[in-house]
């Protein structure tokens, strides 16, 4: 299981390293405007082919690039109901804090759970490889958080709480 995760993440990392070559490009249609072209999708000459990386049917990653911006959308799958709900909660939590994250998009792209939007300005501010590190780390963390931390912790908490209840009845 971990093996495929490693491969998946490495593949994403390689794709990002290739795709993240962004430069400043003022808007062609409106004077003095500078918009992320990947969001507008009006001029086909500014867009590259989108790349879809699938780990399995339910987990995939879509990387869309343009001349001045790149959009990364992730879809995560969880084992059971509980993990599903916790993942959704966590992602909604993150979306609310999108401002603090700068590269996070407030609403995920249709059909996906979470999206990042990286523009050339971000690339100028931050080191490119560190940014890619961050994205990959983010994916690892979210998966790890939901699987180990939240679910396991919740189960353990409830186990102890149930014990207390039953103990009281028997003492």
């Amino acid at each position: 299981m971990a093996n495929t995760l490693r491969l998946y993440l490495t593949c994403i990392r390689n794709t990002l390293e290739a795709a993240m070559c962004l430069q400043n490009f003022p808007c062609q249609e409106v004077e003095r405007h500078n918009k992320p072209e990947v969001e507008l999708k009006t001029s086909p000459e500014l867009l590259l082919n989108p790349v879809l990386i699938c780990r399995n049917e339910a987990e995939k990653c879509l990387v869309e690039t343009s001349i001045n911006s790149i959009r990364i959308s992730l879809k995560v799958k969880q084992a059971d109901e509980l993990e599903n709900i916790l993942a959704k909660k966590f992602l909604r939590f993150l979306s609310m804090r999108a401002e603090a994250f700068q590269v996070l998009r407030r609403k995920p792209v249709q059909g996906y759970d979470i999206s990042f939007l990286i523009t050339n300005y971000h690339c100028e501010d931050m080191h490119k490889h560190k940014l890619i590190d961050f994205i990959v780390q983010f994916m690892e963390v979210s998966k790890g958080l939901v699987n180990e931390q939240l679910t396991a912790r919740v189960s353990l908490d409830m186990f102890v709480v149930s014990e207390m209840f039953i103990l009281r009845a028997s003492m």
Partner: protein, 323 residues
């Protein structure tokens, strides 16, 4: 606080304050609502500063739970037994309430410890009234008999328009709860919680505890019950209570635990949602720090020089406001 406490904190506080404040009285007229729609109305008048009029409203009873005069079976007797001369029941109860009592604070025992015990008992009026039929049945269990004129299946109200079921027999009482929750996340969390309950019971050290089972469909004991009462989106929990669980002082504790089981589960579901938030916030903090590290040093220097940085939604915001 892990376990729900029986006495109402608010009632206890008002009673204690009144004892301490001596003879000078102030008019008090306030109401409070507790979980599961139990309402209290407290009144003190200037004319009788040592007499408290307490009205209690109980949750709306579903059709299968039978009430006698608006109160559960045996409630009046239980009140008289628990409070004695201190409390006088007023008939009819106040408008919109099910029970009105006059509590005479001058009739309390003078010894402070005994007095506190009685005050705590008064503040636990909910347990006394709502738990009366349950106590009756379990007392019979302790004496290994079956209460006379009791049906095979008894429905007792514990939440508005919802009841739980008891199947009393001479050697054991089976208690079944249909568990219902409103919020979809709550349903999932509660279901996993209840499954943990069963796991916890299986642990060897707890052989003394009542046995516990969970099933998504109504168990056999509930055959013949109205379908509305059986609609449960988080499954059915069954406890089997034996005489050793209700002997002596354990009776009161067991009554309260069984009465507030649903509230207990619901409370802990909310607690765990709260703690998930804590952990999520911590994780978000560390991710933002990771992002910070990605910033180039030139940018950081620029920010330091200009002193500008936008607000971060962080957990610990020291010195945020400069007043």
């Amino acid at each position: 606080m892990i376990l729900l406490q029986s006495p109402s904190r608010f009632l206890l506080q008002i009673l204690k304050d009144r004892i301490v404040s001596g003879d000078k009285g102030v008019d008090i007229d306030c109401h409070t609502v507790e979980f599961d729609d139990v309402r209290y109305h407290v009144q003190f008048s200037m004319r009788n500063p040592k007499v408290m009029v307490l009205s209690v409203a109980l949750p709306l009873a579903p059709p299968e739970a039978i009430l006698y005069d608006g109160l559960p079976l045996g409630a009046i007797d239980a009140i008289k037994a628990a409070y004695g001369a201190v409390v006088q029941i007023l008939d009819p109860p106040k408008d919109c309430f099910d029970l009105t009592m006059k509590i005479n604070l001058t009739k309390l025992p003078t010894d402070e410890e005994q007095r506190n015990v009685v005050l705590t008992q008064i503040a636990s009026v909910r347990e006394v009234v709502l738990g009366a039929p349950l106590k009756l049945l379990l007392r019979h269990l302790a004496s290994k008999t079956v209460a006379p004129n009791v049906d095979k299946l008894v429905a007792l109200v514990h939440r508005p328009n919802e009841s739980f079921f008891l199947a009393p027999q001479a050697d054991k009482v089976t208690v079944v709860y249909p568990m219902r929750f409103q919020d979809s996340i709550d349903i999932v969390l509660a279901t996993s919680f209840l499954q943990e309950f069963v796991e916890a019971r299986r642990t060897a050290a707890l052989n003394n505890a009542p046995s516990c089972m969970w099933s998504p469909v109504p168990p056999l004991e509930l055959k013949g019950v109205n379908a509305d009462a059986l609609d449960a989106n988080a499954g059915f929990v069954t406890f089997v209570v034996f005489p050793r669980h209700v002997e002596g002082r354990k009776l009161d504790k067991t009554v309260w635990s069984l009465l507030t089981f649903h509230a207990y589960v619901s409370y802990h579901v909310k607690c765990s949602e709260g703690f998930m938030h804590t952990r999520m916030r911590r994780r978000v903090e560390s991710l933002i720090q990771a992002l910070d590290r990605a910033k180039s040093d030139a940018e950081k220097l620029k920010k330091l020089v200009h002193g500008g940085s936008f607000r971060r939604l962080s957990m610990k915001h020291e010195g945020n406001s400069n007043h």
